[in-house]
Symmetry: C2
Subunit: 412 residues, 2 copies
């Protein structure tokens, strides 16, 4: 293929993605859903005008890193610590109830016995993992619109959703590591080293490496943060800051895979968290966003559409998708809601928190995509994730408005 052939594909992808993104927004659905549908349309399923080439796949990989890096960058560590233990408890419930719910759903649906170490059972767990990550942006928007974001409930949701991401990433990291701890382990530098020091059970190795990764990241991260802070102070708003930030994202993604056998997206996310307290963190995020929305983001979301072969969808899969959406929404509401109630929120406020936490977005897709890469999920299940994103992001604002409106009525 000539170098310029790819330009046509890129042009088609960004034009269709933008067009369908705008249509989705008009219909009050998230833009990413439009971008995925654009990918479906131009891909092998329908129009067949774009194929997923190696180059496009690699660009999509960079797109994922940028998204995860931005997610990390937008974390507010100070606020997190302030909201503290309550948000942590709600986030934990919001991760583990869906995790278990998803696992049970898949196991029950496909009659898979819960045997630890079994391929299929790990696929079931992974369906649970996909359900864990809340994407709170739509909730935030509707709370902002109603002027309720700064209240206790708004702040609790916000913090819980961020902690939820962190815990979700840790769970993802463990599950991928534990699924098949020996596969590719000879390529992982520290895995080889551990083997040489003392032969041990693979699970133990994965746990050691995962803990080690977060410990090393925290230690190194502190030093890196100090260095960036120096640059931040001396050269605010200069190009070197986002460039070095991007380099850090790439290095962490690469090092996570190479040394620890940990997902590159985990590395990128951690790199974002390391830099999130910088004065210029917003400046970095803004520059990443420009790179993201112009090219890499649309390519990533469209590539999901390109990978999804809708001809494989049948009644069974559709049934599963419906079950997936119901379980994913219900487990978040129940998990976060009951935990809030246990923390002495009123019943109605607990429900608001549960509803606010049930929206899913990009991160669920990124997790599903990672599952595809390590062969724990088949592409056809993207349909379930897309459906979940559509349903949750359309229904959450409506339900939240109803709940708050009945409050105001009661007061009046």
């Amino acid at each position: 293929m000539e170098a310029f052939e790819v330009f046509k594909d890129l042009a088609i992808i960004i034009v269709f993605a933008k067009l369908f993104g705008l249509i989705a927004r008009k219909l009050r659905a998230p833009q990413v859903v439009g971008e995925i549908i654009a990918g479906l349309l131009i891909g092998p399923s329908v129009l067949k005008i774009v194929n997923l080439s190696d180059f496009i796949s690699q660009m999509a990989e960079i797109g994922v890193l940028l998204l995860m890096f931005s997610a990390g960058l937008e974390t507010n560590l100070k606020d997190l610590i302030k909201t503290g233990p309550k948000a942590l408890a709600i986030a934990c419930a919001g991760v583990f109830v869906p995790l278990i719910g998803g696992t049970i759903l898949y196991s029950a649906f496909y009659h898979i016995p819960p045997v630890w170490g079994d391929e299929k059972f790990f696929s079931a767990i992974f369906i649970g993992v996909i359900m864990t990550a809340t994407s709170v942006s739509i909730t935030v928007e509707s709370l902002k619109e109603m002027g309720k974001l700064k209240g206790e409930i708004g702040q609790t949701i916000l913090s819980a959703a961020i902690i939820d991401d962190v815990i979700g990433i840790i769970v993802l990291t463990f599950v991928i590591g534990l699924k098949n701890p020996d596969a590719g382990s000879e390529n992982v530098v520290l895995m080889r080293l551990l083997d040489n020091i003392y032969p041990m059970n693979s699970f133990v190795k994965v746990i050691i490496l995962t803990v080690l990764f977060f410990a090393v990241a925290a230690g190194l991260g502190f030093g890196i943060y100090k260095l960036f802070k120096l640059a931040d102070f001396r050269f605010p708003h200069t190009r070197r800051i986002p460039i070095l930030g991007l380099a850090l994202c790439f290095v962490f993604a690469w090092a996570a895979e190479t040394f620890f056998g940990i997902a590159d997206i985990t590395g990128a996310y951690v790199a974002g968290i390391i830099l999130c307290s910088l004065k210029d963190s917003e400046y970095i995020a803004e520059k990443m966003d420009t790179n993201s929305y112009m090219l890499f983001g649309p390519i990533f979301f469209a590539s999901i559409g390109l990978k999804t072969d809708i001809s494989e969808i049948n009644v069974e899969i559709l049934l599963f998708c419906v079950g997936f959406v119901i379980v994913a929404l219900a487990t978040k509401i129940i998990g976060c809601g009951l935990m809030s109630r246990a923390l002495r929120f009123k019943w109605k406020d607990s429900l608001k928190i549960g509803i606010g936490m049930m929206t899913r977005g990009e991160v669920a897709l990124i997790v599903a995509q990672k599952g595809l890469a390590v062969k724990m999920v088949e592409p056809v299940y993207f349909t379930a994730v897309i459906l979940l994103i559509i349903v949750s992001s359309i229904s959450t604002p409506i339900i939240l408005k109803l709940l708050y409106a009945s409050d105001d009525k009661a007061k009046a």
Copy 2:
């Protein structure tokens, strides 16, 4: 290669490119020179830590398109028309004198007889083509610094340099087309069509297609401009405008190659010119710049360093490089200077215009890179271009300052 392996290369490239770019700036040389040296250093010539993979090459290609698209976007058509015929005449002299000078230099140096159609003679012409494009940014900066940019000389240089780019691109397009008009012609849609209509001489075909390309681009361009103006008016500063601009750049680059057999960079440049009169053209350029400086630009310039094998440099090549720099500088000064004099500028002002026009930059590299792609230039000649950029951009500001200072003295 695993997907994440490329992240390491990207991180190394952007960090080294930024670092050496900053060092170059400290030493008052252009940043791009630093970025190229970074590529040399990390590449096979010295440290051997990064190889030019297919993915990196393709990213570099996108980088070139973005640079050419930006160059087109920054054109000011209105000012051009105002300065008019004088600038046009100076630009023509500034293109054709170096073109002939470069051709003679290479032919004389390697004893190549001027036989039209001979491979080697085309290489000689291409050396001339590399010498044609003025990069006026350094001249503009020094004139601005001295408060002389708004004067007649400043405006003449600015306009001439822009027209110079347009003519340079046309010359490049012809030369590449004429070199080997049959090679790959079966892949060019309109070439096949012409063959079916009426069998004719290949040179004639190339000339017809080139003229046709610019005619079609002008016609289509007018319609596209009107459409963008509508969007510009209704949705100023929205993301859709730079995204559609980028798509236009990709489409023109692809269509130029596919339908007309014309260089993709010509297509991208023309796409930029089509949009340069939009209100939001600066907004588009700014977004392109962010994409460019974060990732694609450094990758392109570093990739030139990665391609340059300095082990091939010998005394003969070095001698040629020195000759190349002297001829490139002298022909611009003589061509533009004498034409200015003929247009009744004073001798000293003519010299100022000649000196102002002699700086070379990115575009010369992009042209050289295109020559490499179509096998008209060997990578080792990049050294000559790099040397030319360094010498011209360091000496121009110094000489201009001296010339203006002696003016002020004479007045005092």
